[in-house]
């Protein structure tokens, strides 16, 4: 069965390669090329999703890494539950983005599309590679370079715009630096040879030990943190790169690509650890370091996001912030596994599940938000929040999708962001009774949720409500075509589904860890399944921790209560039998609303922005 799995993987990668070769030849016919790209990417995705389903739901055994010979080089591949999970996210978002691209890429009339359709499948191929290769040398290098170079050309797609090439070059250089850091880390392992799979590396690490350990883990962490966009590395490249790429690519960059960094971090610190030997991974130390990076990243990234007036830069900074939540969850889990008591291990499992769930949720809603900003750009020609406003009337469906995504990312129940943030925050708060710093990080995360909300009040408010577009946008604003609405609505529905039935996904993730043998968290997660966090309707009652009710039933109950509340409020409003009349805006009677006296995005939260100038990322007027 395993052979099948790896053969399918190679088939899927081959389809992507074919797409990269064939579609650029057709790029003269824009629509045809778009459809061909979509069809081939979908074909590959079907194969990949099949792999994902086989691993996650099938009965076969997984976890053995497999040497696959491609010509002269042999590369170790490993498809276990954890990589299957990422394969699923990458291929799903890839298809959505490819479908969106068909119509979206047509409007770049000044640019030829061959480079786009050459690099798009290669970019996906590289990302799939990263999450399936099982070494940190040969295969890793191939995958990383494919991903990086392909995304580089996608990012510099609009190369005639001022500054874009410069930003793209910066991206390329920093990603190569990240690659070098990871590779250097591996060279610090005594006796490591090129092409060693991870478990062999872990074994050699165990016998080597000593100060080498610090260098190995420090360098790999730094490398993957670069990719994931962790503070201070993320600020160097992420906002510049993500904001200039075409929107379907931005949605992949933010939704999926930075998660490969998260994948690397979790893979290194939970799997590539020496077992049994004299030396151990100092999990408490690294957990503290990673969790601290997470807390700082989520706070700084989100506050910086709030300051932005460019829609896509706002989203990009917010990606940094959201990755912070994931890193915090992973770091807290690592710390609790190694540095605290037995009960803390359960919290470790909860935090890790929450972090992985947030990976998935963030892929969906951040992907959606970038598609929304792409649609706005398509319809109005600008992504400057100061010039936008009042699009609700013209683009109702896009606005609806944007609203749902904004509520999700802000963590309002019962949308998806709530379920995963809830899990991360509550596990760190509860663990805080033993570990003070985690309680503080939990409080920072909670505080930052409100700041996240302010980002999206600005993003949604200044784009869709408020006023402005009628004066500052010269063209006729229309809703985008159906083929650009459908992917957004699909993702919006997922935002709700993932929020309302989190127990299904928690069960899935717990199962996923069960099918990824060899991790240090395996035992704790298995306990968690036993304790009932898995797919029961009534939720966790972790023994001795009475009163924790899991997110299992919460969203559904909250939804029902809110529905009842809305019904009551609606009836109350109609009880007086009053009539509604649309009235013009009232500005004290002597002035009509115009472009001169409206409130622009720059002015929002002025006092707060002044107080947090020190966090950087400020926007010059």
């Amino acid at each position: 069965m395993n052979i099948d799995l790896y053969n399918s993987l190679l088939t899927a990668l081959a389809i992507l390669l074919v797409s990269a070769v064939v579609v650029p030849l057709l790029s003269g016919k824009r629509k045809l090329a778009g459809w061909m790209n979509f069809i081939l990417v979908s074909a590959a995705a079907v194969v990949l999703l099949n792999i994902c389903a086989t691993v996650l739901f099938g009965s076969g055994s997984v976890g053995e890494s497999q040497l696959v010979r491609i010509g002269p080089v042999g590369i170790y591949f490993l498809i276990d539950g954890f990589s299957a999970f990422f394969i699923g996210i990458i291929s799903f978002m890839g298809v959505v983005s490819a479908f969106y691209s068909i119509r979206y890429m047509e409007h770049y009339t000044d640019y030829r599309l061959w480079s786009y359709y050459l690099c798009f499948p290669l970019f996906l191929l590289g990302m799939i590679g990263i999450v399936t290769v099982d070494d940190l040398s040969t295969g890793f290098t191939l995958a990383w370079q494919t991903m990086t170079v392909a995304s580089y050309f996608l990012i510099r797609f609009e190369y005639r715009e001022k500054g874009n090439v410069r930003n793209a070059n910066k991206y390329l250089i920093l990603m190569e630096l990240a690659w070098a850091l990871v590779l250097c880390g591996v060279f610090f392992i005594d006796g490591a040879s090129i092409g060693d799979p991870l478990h062999a590396l872990a074994g050699k690490l165990g016998s080597a030990g000593g100060t080498g350990m610090l260098a190995v883990y420090g360098l790999t962490l730094a490398g993957f943190a670069f990719k994931a966009g962790v503070f201070p590395f993320g600020q160097l490249w992420l906002p510049d790169a993500h904001s200039i790429a075409p929107s379907p690519v931005s949605s992949l960059l933010s939704g999926v690509m930075i998660k490969t960094g998260v994948y690397g971090i979790i893979r290194t610190f939970f799997w590539m650890t020496p077992h049994g030997g004299e030396t151990h991974l100092d999990g408490a130390l690294w957990g503290l370091i990673i969790a601290s990076f997470g807390a700082v990243t989520l706070f700084i990234g989100t506050v910086q996001s709030m300051k932005q007036s460019d829609a896509k830069r706002l989203l990009a900074y917010s990606s940094i912030g959201q990755v912070g939540y994931i890193i915090l969850g992973a770091g807290a889990a690592l710390y609790l596994l190694h540095g605290a008591g037995e009960t803390a291990k359960l919290f470790a499992a909860v935090a890790l599940v929450g972090a992985v769930y947030h990976v998935m949720n963030h892929a969906v809603f951040k992907g959606l938000l970038f598609l929304v900003s792409g649609s706005v750009l398509y319809a109005t020609g600008t992504k400057d929040l100061n010039r936008l406003g009042g699009l609700l009337k013209f683009m109702p469906l896009t606005a609806l999708a944007a609203g749902i995504a904004s509520l999700s990312i802000s963590g309002v129940p019962p949308f998806s962001g709530f379920a995963s943030k809830w899990t991360i925050i509550s596990s760190s708060l509860l663990a805080g009774s033993e570990v003070l710093f985690l309680a503080m990080f939990g409080i920072i995360a909670l505080f930052t949720s409100a700041v996240t909300l302010s980002c999206y009040v600005k993003f949604f408010g200044m784009t869709f409500t408020s006023v402005g577009a009628e004066w500052s946008v010269k063209k006729d604003v229309k809703e985008v075509p159906a083929s650009m609405i459908a992917p957004k609505l699909l993702l919006a529905i997922l935002c709700i589904v993932q929020g309302v039935i989190p127990f299904f996904y928690f069960g899935l993730i717990i199962d996923m860890f069960a099918r990824s043998p060899g991790s240090t968290a395996a035992a704790a997660i298995a306990d968690l399944g036993g304790a009932g966090l898995s797919a029961g309707m009534m939720g966790v009652a972790v023994p001795g921790m009475g009163g924790i009710i899991s997110a299992v039933a919460v969203p559904a109950v909250v939804l029902v209560i809110l529905a009842a509340g809305l019904l009551f409020a609606g009836l109350l409003r109609r009880s007086g039998g009053s009539e509604e009349k649309v009235a013009p805006t009232w500005l004290c009677g002597y002035q009509d609303l115009n472009d001169r006296n409206r409130y622009t995005a720059d002015n929002m939260f002025a006092a707060f922005k002044r107080a947090f100038r020190w966090t950087g990322g400020n926007v010059k007027k």
Partner: protein
């Protein structure tokens, strides 16, 4: 029986919130400003009258749904409250994080209404409202968390009852002072009524609202005010109880009345601050609550 507790929660709040507002207006008028003031029942009349008036609208969907969202979410919060020291059947389905996010959602309704009303003053108000939400939410959150770290549970009843359940240590006192200091900001009254600021930006977020829509927002504000007053009583005065449900609810309402007297006196004697001044004060309050949580982790 458990269902009955939910009904009591909702009825007590819906029926009494306007009355307490009437008390505030009476105290402000008679005690502080030496005038007659409106009748005690005036807030009821206001709401009834608004419900019958013409409903002026900015003509978009968001504007219409905003007041519904606010009112529904504050009602959702109230449902979970363990009034009279009794948890009801729904209380266990939410935890403190849910409650905090639901309260935030009430604010989201106000912001949505303000933003979609297209009015410049409303937008200024919404910007200020958002800053206030960011800065005072941690104080509320840490009030809960103080109890949560003591008992290692995020359940509503567990964390609420354990804040002062074990007596008044240093951490509880610090937290209580921070909560009281933030109370005026929670309920949007002077000196922290910066978002509405009637005489400056004409009710800010609510400027475009009238008739039934405004009635819903007004009701939302009244309920929110009573929620924060009641929360103070439940969290910090848990010891005074008889064990009889009805009597306990009445005792708590008596304490709530005292909190309202405090709100009225503070509100009518303090001029409004600017948002940047207020922000500094909130910063101090957040720091104080952090200290309180830190102390409680060490069992002080």
């Amino acid at each position: 029986m458990d269902i009955l507790y939910i009904a009591v929660n909702i009825l007590v709040f819906l029926l009494l919130a306007p009355l307490f507002e009437g008390v505030v207006r009476r105290i402000t008028a008679r005690v502080v400003q030496s005038r007659q003031g409106p009748p005690l029942l005036q807030p009821y009349y206001d709401i009834l009258k608004l419900l019958g008036k013409q409903n002026l609208s900015a003509g978009n969907f968001a504007f219409r749904i905003a007041p519904l969202v606010s009112l529904a979410s504050i009602l959702g919060v109230i449902v979970f409250l363990p009034l009279g020291h009794r948890a009801n059947v729904l209380t266990k389905y939410a935890d403190i994080v849910t409650v905090i996010y639901l309260l935030t959602m009430g604010g989201v309704g106000v912001l949505l209404g303000a933003l979609s009303s297209r009015n410049t003053f409303a937008l200024i108000g919404s910007s200020r409202e958002m800053i206030t939400m960011i800065m005072v939410e941690p104080v509320l959150a840490m009030t809960f968390i103080l109890g949560a770290v003591k008992i290692k549970s995020l359940g509503i009843t567990a964390s609420i009852f354990s804040v002062a359940g074990g007596g008044y240590g240093a951490s509880v006192i610090v937290m209580m002072v921070a909560y009281l200091a933030a109370l005026q900001a929670f309920v949007g009254r002077q000196p922290f009524d910066i978002a509405e600021a009637e005489v400056e930006i004409l009710e800010g977020p609510f400027i475009e609202y009238s008739g039934p829509n405004f009635a819903l927002f007004k009701y939302y504000l009244l309920l929110k005010q009573m929620f924060y007053a009641m929360l103070f009583v439940i969290v910090f005065i848990p010891a005074v109880k008889t064990g009889l449900y009805g009597v306990d609810v009445l005792i708590q309402l008596a304490f709530v009345l005292l909190v309202y007297v405090l709100i009225a006196l503070l509100g009518s004697t303090h001029p409004r601050l600017r948002i940047d001044q207020a922000q500094k004060i909130y910063g101090v309050l957040i720091a104080a609550s952090l200290v309180a949580v830190g102390l409680s982790v060490y069992g002080i």
